[in-house]
Symmetry: C2
Subunit: 496 residues, 2 copies
Amino acid sequence: MAYERIRLESLKDKVMTAEQAALLINNGMVVGSSGFTKAGDSKVVLPAFAARAKSENLKITLMTGASLGHDTDGKLAEAGALSKRMPFQVDRALRSKINTGEVLFIDQHLSESAELLHNKNLPPVDIAVIEVAYIDRDGSIVPTTSVGNSVTFAALAKQVILEINTAVSEEVYGIHDIYQAEDYPYRNVIPIVAPWNKIGRKTIPLDPSKVVGIVFTDMLDSPADIAPADPKTTAIAKHILEFFENEVLLGHLTDRLLPIQAGIGKVANAVLMGFKDSNFYDLTMFSEVLQDSTFDLIDAGKLSFASASSVTVSKDCYQRVFGNLQKYRDKFVLRPQNISNTPGLIRRLGVIAINTAIEFDIYGNVNSTHISGSKIMNGIGGSGDFARNAYLSIFVTQAASKENAISHVLPMVSHVDHTEHDVDILVTDIGLADLRGLAPRERAQKIIDNCVHPDYREQLQSYFDRASERGGHTPHLLEEAFSWHLRLMDAGSMKK
Amino acid sequence: MAYERIRLESLKDKVMTAEQAALLINNGMVVGSSGFTKAGDSKVVLPAFAARAKSENLKITLMTGASLGHDTDGKLAEAGALSKRMPFQVDRALRSKINTGEVLFIDQHLSESAELLHNKNLPPVDIAVIEVAYIDRDGSIVPTTSVGNSVTFAALAKQVILEINTAVSEEVYGIHDIYQAEDYPYRNVIPIVAPWNKIGRKTIPLDPSKVVGIVFTDMLDSPADIAPADPKTTAIAKHILEFFENEVLLGHLTDRLLPIQAGIGKVANAVLMGFKDSNFYDLTMFSEVLQDSTFDLIDAGKLSFASASSVTVSKDCYQRVFGNLQKYRDKFVLRPQNISNTPGLIRRLGVIAINTAIEFDIYGNVNSTHISGSKIMNGIGGSGDFARNAYLSIFVTQAASKENAISHVLPMVSHVDHTEHDVDILVTDIGLADLRGLAPRERAQKIIDNCVHPDYREQLQSYFDRASERGGHTPHLLEEAFSWHLRLMDAGSMKK
């Protein structure tokens, strides 16, 4: 029965085990793999390669869509199998190897990896590993729960290994919109003017002569870990919903809003769930990852369409969606990440982007990636693709954490991922600061008044006041700008 | 004869003096004015308002395309006439008032001001002052040497004052491509797929009933100050040209390259002039400002078309171009700045963006705006619009200045305008660092090896080595990251 998923007869003799496929990946190769926030990743070939790499001391450069599931990044890292990794990761073991310098990581805007490959600004892909639901008669492939960079890997890789996942229904045919822009200098318009526009094919083109191995798997994606809402995330969501309601009252937005992008995690889920009992209706998403909350909103009749590059949901939600595709198939679409995240579409559609910050500063600069300037947490992901080009760029974080030893609102962020020029709205559990139309000194006072934890308000006001006295468009005391981070490192708290 | 430039009869009784027009601008108003890098700015009404504001103690919010000429920003600042200013300026007196906090400045991506106005994310424009060549029979207006944000100001301002500049030939009709995207949520595709595409009207639509005053002027734009090339700019240009030649050899680019954007100043001019004696041909520009070098390259038969929002050239070049429009009118076009600088077009066309940095750091972060973190120089201008979405994002600066007391290559920049995620190539007079495909630690070593001034190489290597030992994806010593800036402030040199 599994063999029926190879609808091109000539490929049937390519079937092999994961261990055999892993032998096709050699030392020093550039490997491109499917997988976007755990969804649609390689379930067996990359793990088998990790085992082989450990014993044979092999290293590869690994490019994916985004993060992988099933601890695959961790297994590869622990096996010492990665020399370079891009464009995103969330794994504890890998992160640790990146921070020691053992694995070189490129923290890339998710829309750009495919562009860079097509433009020959990255080394060519030697071999691709792509999870598919099935191989069609013409050799083209049907992806599973994500599209990611698979279209680019299939087009550019010299060799391709396919993982046919029989745990994924063949009915996923049609939930993907496979489109690639032309190469320079002959690129045309990407003709999307609304989230629900489908402009491409249903399958990923693939030259069958490049297929060097086919492996069967029967294993679901790693489920999303949905942390329950807590008082802080609930407060953040409440501030954002009140802000939207007010924008409608002011006539800036209608109660359909504009297409929403929401980063991963419990704040995004809390905001989206907040729409459930609101007056907003006919909402849409133009995002990169669809989480449980998207499908809850669809079920509640609040959300009419969602566009993204992957579906990363809990086990229950997975069954609900992929077990009832007939119900959902006209409600969402999965696109290549260089389409879901492309700057021109985000500006054309007027996306409302909601992303999570690690910390932000009084002038509106946002750090999404680094702990105390040096150590990476996960990566920028698609937040820059969206924030930079959005109609509204919203960043959220808790005001303070670790029993308030850490303030997430600071004199100066220790790493800048989103500049003061790109940020419209900052939100913590304490409150929301609307920075539109404000100069830096105005922003600072509003952020201090609205967002900082009370334990740090006086300390932050003091910094701003003393810096302002010394002068400048963006007043800083460079000798003191990182003193909060340094105090945390030295004394375990940012408090004076 | 001047009255013939008012081709709509009913507007002829609106003619008045600049002083009378200045009386229409009241305290607290939001004023939108034409003018983009000195080109096509208000020649008399804003200066007359500056005089009035000084005696009557009036303050306005002033939005423009970009910087103004004829010291108008300086006159307004010295008169205390500005409470808020956006999105760009280059004036010494205004800068000083911004840095004391007396004038609030919003340093905005040049593509975004018009968007923010249309989206009601900025306060509405009370009155617009727009320089025009003439008023057409239907009341629509023909701009002069720039388009800037005038289309938006004409559409949204409650009242409009027109300055008809008789020093500008009526033959400029047709050099502008006036197009505005639809408002959300009904925005369509902007149908430009090559720099030479013209997609709009030749005149700016204007409701004649909004015209409250018409003033005649006869005064050229402030000429561009073209500093002659010096050994440093020549060296930078040479590195860039060699890089391009090598990209052609590698098959990454053809010798037509891709559309070029070049920031303002002598480095950009030096790079463009370098093409004159090269093998490159049929070059195009998709930029924001056209300088002398653009027209020199057209004359040399090297450049076939240039798209921008303004022409800012020397006096000689002005006569050459605007005295021979028949020769040049199919070689360039001026667009609204939210079209010339729009992210989607920059990515669609694959623009090669060359912009000037104040300083950059070992990880590739670029500061384009601030001196030692606090004091603004000019502003980000369009550099972010282009760099963030470009095919190649190149930043240039001198390695050291002030008898090498200042290094422009640093452990950490004191303000981030372009993040490590957005920068491909860094160039100083010392050399070029190609950062594509490099992780932060690799970038650091390449920048130290290729770009830093020899006087600072050891010092920078020492910082990087000691930071790397402590660890991290982007190793920093936060307690020392700004020590170079602090040493400069304390001791007059960044040298240890």
